[in-house]
Amino acid sequence: MWPVAKQTLKAAVRYRFVVALGLALLVIVFGIPLLLKSDGTAKGTVQLVLTYTLGSTTALLGIASLWMGCGTLAREIEDNVMQMVAVKPVARWRVWLGKWLGIMLLNAALMVPTGLAIFFFINARADSTELGEAEKARLQNEVLVSRSSVREEEPPLSLSRQKAYRYSLLVAQGKSDNQYTEEEQAFRMTVTGPEHILSFRPEYPRLVEQAQTRPTEDILAQLEQLESEAIRVSKASYEVVLPGQDRFWEFEIDPDIVDEVNRKPVYLRFKFNADDEYDPKSHTLWFSIGEGTNKPWPPEGAFKEMRRGSSAFHEEQLPIGIVPEKGSLKGKVRVHFVNRNSERPIIFLLEDGPMILYHDGGFGMNLFRGLLIIYFWLGLISAIGLMASSFLSFPVATFMSLGILLISASTGTLQQIIDEEGIAGINHETGKKDQSSALDNVAITFSKAVLSVTDLIWGYSPVDNLSSGRTIKWTTLLSAFTGIILIMGGLVMAFGTYMFQRKELALPDPTASMN
């Protein structure tokens, strides 16, 4: 396996591929920062530089990995060189794996100096004498740092038809709280938000019964619509803060590390919408943080009034020592928000939900972990290229690999198909979907299947995390390795090696069939 890996690496060097890539990476690391225009702050500049250099490096090495993955195997098969390797006592799966290792060695050889260059370049900028002490401190605390985040526990938004039906019947009995039996009380405690909302729809139990006795497409569609509405309403109840209402969040930090956390600044990171996504504006917000501590924010204990733009992330630095260190609230940071706007609701989407950021390490190690996730991506991309070239010619393999990557990266489109219940989309006049077709069902099934797979691959944001100084945890890294390399990479490798094993390497016509 190693001789094949070394051979693959040698080919890249001899064909000057490494030189070309190295030059391109030099341009990315040192050239791109010269072209970027930031908001003028040191923090903004460094964030932009990190985002673009890491993003461009990922894109360039991704394309190179795909190209090499397709080329190294397909071309050797087409040039018949692979015949000379295949007649030697090396199992074909080892040859395949050797090729993959070769590409990964090349990627490592390119990524290590690139990562080091980015690290030293960014640090040099942060140490520049042109920056004031305040700006330097802000950079060190908010970007060139590794900060862990704590979110509120996800609210229960699942729905069981059987449970919702039973609960609806129970509510329909019109009992008061003290009339329920012990068993009924216990059952009521397990009901989720959407199931509770459905109990207010008197037609729901009837529809469930009809769906069991005489299921028709219309009844099933009505049921599904009711249920999806219940989920949406329940979710919205956690997200929307209407004028005059307030909202509490409680963030739990591991009590064992509270002392450590309180030594550095803690940040509240949030993003909100104000029903003006297409034309974001600034709005007034009122926060009060640190209930149960003697260092609340704002210090006077009232609500902090601030104007912030909608549809963008914001970070508020909180005072050192804001995390309660004693008592029942130890480690719990409480955030209280009030919407004192007269008309406009403020929406905190669950997926963007507020979080508390606290310092837990240095930027260097975080960069290392982020680069490793990018490295895992490159591993999967090169495996896809090798898999395609195990049974296809070079151009077709490249086309197929690109297609796979494009589909897997189109998560937004696929999610939209699921959200809008098909490819026809929602009728904006009625706000509902007109009529589901078989094609819609196929599209939804396909999108769900692809998304469940792509989440394993693209469900990480190393570049975003690094540019916002958020920690990429070791557990995240392990999860990325498992999902990207072991599961997805393993599947791709298994299929690729199987096809390569079946391949007749000496066919006179590459388009001929295998028998």
């Binding site: 018949n80 060189v81 015949q83 390797v85 007649v87 006592p89 069939s513 028998n515």
Partner: protein
């Protein structure tokens, strides 16, 4: 300077002597079956799985250890397809094929096989050293051993002056040579040579043929696929003649080539009296007047090689391929313990140690004796059996005695 024990281009006459020994049917072939094919069929199909060409059609054959087996046929007759099925590069559509009692796709079996393809299928950006080292590493040969073998092989194939040049810069002949070297890095028990002399000059052709003989004498099995009749005739024990993917003829070379209606005797130049006595004896014995006497001629290959041998005395430095190099030690095996090599050494040493001051002769016809035919003519003992070297020497002695008696010396 160390005198090489054996060169790829042996001194004049040795090649002919070796060929003569083969014709004596004294190869080391044993009864162990190395390759077995039954009903072997290969149909090439198009993208949609429709049959396009039947390259090999129901072929049965076996090759035993130590044999040099020729696959002979015109272009497109199925030779290369058979070779590639033997290597596991193509899969039979029907029939069964085993190599060393295993499927050709059995990984460990491949450690015993060396393959020279019909074209140069090598990495163009590697130099000779790297090429041999890479293919050697695939056999899990240790680094030190690999380097030693690479040195010997590169010298053997005459690329000592070109070991730092990339294979992509090589001429076709040089590429064949480096291809041959990589095929032998593992000291294979079975060597498959697909058109091995294609693109080689006559010196290279002769060297390849001598190498095949050397390998065979060490008990290696060689499959030679060629459409060049002379190649097959010179070195093969048995051959299979293919046409249209089917076997048209198969047997030992002597069986295939023998003209049972005539006999040839080759001897040193005879006096007129001796000649008359011999002719008279033959006429009396056969009762036929159709007896022809002429001087044997050497073939064009021998003439060419002798001329080149002389020219090489003035050889200048070259970055291209050279010739006449020593066979790699590990390919020669244990000379002390190997009967075939002892005979080989005997022959080569005699030829390699010229009398001091003796000028090399340009042309000297080889002295060969067809023992089979001679024995048949004398109505004496049956032809010797294969694989017994001492018996072979006895046969040679007996043959010489008979010839002496026949000629009245």
């Amino acid at each position: 300077m160390i005198q090489p024990e054996w060169r790829l281009s042996p001194p004049e006459g040795v090649h002919e002597q070796r060929l003569a020994r083969r014709r004596d049917n004294t190869t080391m072939s044993s009864n162990e079956t190395v390759i077995s094919a039954q009903g072997l069929t290969k149909v090439f199909k198009d993208f949609w799985g429709r049959p396009k060409a039947r390259a090999v059609d129901g072929i049965d054959f076996e090759v035993r250890q130590g044999e040099v087996f020729g696959l002979l046929g015109p272009n497109g007759s199925g030779k290369s397809t058979i070779v590639k099925m033997l290597l596991g590069l193509l899969y039979p559509t029907r029939g069964r094929i085993t190599v060393f009692d295993h499927s050709p796709r059995h990984v460990q079996t491949k450690a015993r096989i060396g393959y020279l393809p019909e074209e140069s299928y090598l990495y163009r950006y590697l130099n000779s050293d790297e090429t041999i080292d890479f293919f050697g590493s695939l056999f899990h040969i240790e680094s030190k051993e690999r380097r030693e073998r690479a040195d010997q092989l590169i010298e053997m194939v005459g690329l000592g002056n070109a070991r730092r040049r990339h294979v992509g810069e090589f001429s076709k002949g040089m590429q064949r040579r480096i291809g041959l070297a990589q095929a032998l890095i593992n000291d294979p028990d079975l060597v498959l040579l697909d058109e091995p002399t294609s693109g080689l000059d006559p010196i290279g052709c002769r060297e390849i043929k001598d190498l095949i003989l050397t390998l065979s004498e060490r008990g290696k099995t060689v499959i030679l696929s060629s459409h060049l009749l002379a190649d097959v005739e010179d070195v093969c024990d048995r051959a299979m003649i293919l046409y249209g993917g089917r076997v048209q003829a198969m047997g030992t070379m002597s069986d295939l080539l023998a003209n049972r209606d005539a006999t040839r005797i080759t001897a040193p130049t005879l006096s007129r009296d001796t000649m008359e006595r011999v002719l008279s004896l033959i006429r009396d014995d056969t009762g036929s007047e159709e007896v022809r006497v002429d001087n044997p001629t050497q073939n064009l290959e021998s003439l060419f090689l002798n001329i080149v041998e002389q020219a090489r005395q003035k050889e200048a430095d070259t970055s291209g391929a050279t010739s006449g190099h020593r066979v790699a030690d590990y390919l020669r095996g244990d000379a002390a313990g190997d009967r075939a090599d002892r005979v080989l050494d005997h022959l080569t040493r005699a030829a390699d140690e010229p009398t001091p001051g003796q000028a090399p002769e340009v042309t000297k016809p080889a002295e060969t004796v067809d023992v089979d035919k001679l024995a048949g003519l004398a109505k004496a003992e049956p032809a010797p059996k294969a694989g017994v070297a001492p018996k072979k020497e006895e046969n040679l002695d007996k043959a010489n005695e008979k010839l002496g008696g026949l000629l009245g010396d």
